[in-house]
């Protein structure tokens, strides 16, 4: 591994700990987060050139805290200039000392609870989490989401405003609140993973980084909360999905569906890790959505070829998922699994009630799934029409190309 890469990994791992130490001392989360970001940027420039300091954590904390002191000083002179300062108020600046800052492993978790708070919009929570906990720069985040740096900067500052106005503090939520807040954290991490998993030609490289980052952060949460089945389930789901990354797109970014993928290109190690995690998560009793989705991904990943897929098992798992979630996407997948086990007509019958689901109105997935089942049932004319309809409705270029080609192949 090159020094640059080693420094990058080190900085990302240290980011939440340095931020935790800084917030604890200065209490001001928004300013501390800016200061830590500056310290990380300074380290990324200096360390590869001058070498990594003996105590990298201490180095970052000191630089961040010096920035905080500078910030406090300029804040005071601004207030004096604006003559709104109350007598005696400047005493708030604490001297920067060289004391060894404490490292609290729970800081990562506390920060995630803050940054993924449900009071924040998903876009703001994602941006803030990647910067404050993931240690990414604003520029890196912007590149991943294909938006300008200033847009991500605004999302971060809005997230901080929401934190401030909601009174969300830097402390571990109490036991009652933990479960619900953990749900928000996992949702944000899942969104980051999905964002990275969404390929688009020419930008695949940057977006892959988002998947890696989501896996890294989820792994960190898993090591802090090893007994949580939901966390283990989400980590397993990510690993089992990401294992297929190399096989799921062709050389020019075209989509390769699961049953046509070259399974020798799947990452066996990630599958083994994911299967072990999913198995352990399922045996922990209360089974949530992430565990079930991970179990389904595991069944797919364990099949040597598409024909070997244990569809009855997948159908049973989707049946369990249906009882936990009324998400119509689960209903669609349940219909596909039914078709694989009991024939396309049985699957088509399950799609009928979804026609009335307002959440699927205008969504291309229902048309695409029905087209697929009609094709298997030998009703090619109807399948062609629906493939084309789905192609005009999807917001994805590779998916549109795939659906158009499906229609064209059936037509010839």
């Amino acid at each position: 591994m090159s020094l640059d890469l080693r420094v990058e990994h080190l900085l990302r791992d240290l980011a939440p700990q340095v931020l935790g130490a800084t917030v604890r001392r200065f209490r001001d989360f928004a300013a501390s987060e800016d200061a830590v970001q500056e310290a990380l940027i300074a380290a990324a420039a200096q360390w590869p050139r001058d070498g990594v300091p003996e105590n990298p954590h201490g180095w970052l904390v000191r630089v961040a805290q010096r920035r905080m002191a500078d910030h406090a000083r300029s804040e005071i002179s601004r207030q004096i200039r604006e003559s709104v300062i109350a007598e005696g108020a400047p005493g708030a600046v604490e001297p920067v000392t060289d004391d060894e800052p404490e490292i609290d492993p729970d800081d990562t978790l506390v920060l995630l609870f803050m940054c993924c708070h449900p009071a924040l919009t998903p876009a703001s929570a994602i941006a803030l989490t990647l910067r404050a906990v993931g240690g990414l720069t604003t520029a890196e985040i912007a590149k991943s989401f294909l938006v300008p740096e200033s847009t991500i900067g605004q999302r971060i500052s809005r997230a901080k405003q929401s934190i401030k106005s909601s009174g969300i503090g830097f402390h571990m939520p109490d036991a009652d609140e933990r479960a619900q807040r953990l749900g928000s954290v996992l949702h944000v991490l899942y969104l980051v993973f999905n964002e990275g998993y969404t390929t688009s030609a020419g930008t695949a490289l940057h977006r892959t980084d988002l998947s890696n980052e989501a896996i890294r952060l989820t792994r960190a949460v898993h090591s802090l909360l090893p007994d949580s089945g939901d966390v283990a389930g989400l980590l397993a789901l990510m690993l089992l999905t990401d294992a297929r990354r190399a096989a799921r797109t062709g050389p020019s970014g075209e989509l390769i569906p699961l049953d046509e993928q070259d399974r020798t290109r799947w990452d066996r190690q990630a599958i083994a890790d994911g299967v072990a995690l999913a198995g352990a998560a399922l045996s922990r009793g209360a089974v949530g959505e992430y565990q079930l989705l991970a179990a389904i991904a595991a069944v797919h990943d364990e099949a040597e070829c598409a024909e070997d897929t244990d569809w009855p098992q997948i159908l049973a798992l989707y049946g369990m998922l249906m009882r936990l979630s009324d998400n119509p996407m689960v209903g669609l997948n349940h219909a596909i699994a039914t078709a694989m086990v009991n024939g396309p007509e049985a699957g088509l019958a399950l799609l009928a009630p979804l026609d009335n689901d307002a959440r699927l109105r205008g969504n291309h997935r229902l048309d695409a799934v029905r087209a697929h089942l009609l094709e298997r049932a030998g009703e090619h004319e109807a399948a062609i029409e629906l493939y084309r309809k789905a192609a005009t409705r999807t917001a994805s270029v590779p998916e549109r190309d795939y659906l158009m080609l499906k229609a064209a192949r059936l037509n010839s």
Binding site: P257, T394, S396, P398
Partner: protein, 135 residues
């Protein structure tokens, strides 16, 4: 999800615009600046551009030697792209809301391509295609 909000103009829209009274023009420019800034501050703006008048526009295609053959813009073209914003928003509804606000830019009634007066311009809202998740 990303959307392009498109503002079209009738063929002589630019000339009409240039001839608006100073007060209305100023209000229009101020609105556009404030509107764009608001989108940027909300963390929703990806980009946007205004286009020069179609008067100098050219239609181009390759000739047999691959060199460009140009033509003026055909008289039957009635509408032209005037400018666009690209926004990254949480929902389709939010894109429509932004478009509705864009349509309220102050201006003098202009005469549309169909000869009828327009007070609020229509803003065309189109989703931008991206990558795929899973099939």
């Amino acid at each position: 999800m990303k959307y392009m909000l498109i503002m079209n103009t009738p063929r002589d829209g630019y000339t009409q615009y240039m001839n608006w009274p100073k007060k209305i023009l100023e209000a229009n420019v101020a609105f556009m600046q404030a509107f764009t800034k608001k989108l940027r501050d909300a963390g929703e703006l990806v980009g946007g551009e205004g286009l020069a008048s179609p008067e100098q526009a050219k239609l181009v295609r390759a000739g047999k030697d691959g060199k460009p053959i140009t033509d003026g813009v055909f008289p039957e073209f009635k509408e032209f792209l005037a400018g666009y914003w690209v926004v990254d928003v949480e929902s389709p509804e939010r894109a429509l809301q932004i478009a509705a606000e864009a349509s309220t830019a102050p201006g003098q009634e202009i005469t549309g391509a169909d000869g009828k007066p327009i007070t609020h311009l229509w803003i065309e809202v189109r989703q931008i295609l991206g990558g795929h998740k899973e099939l």
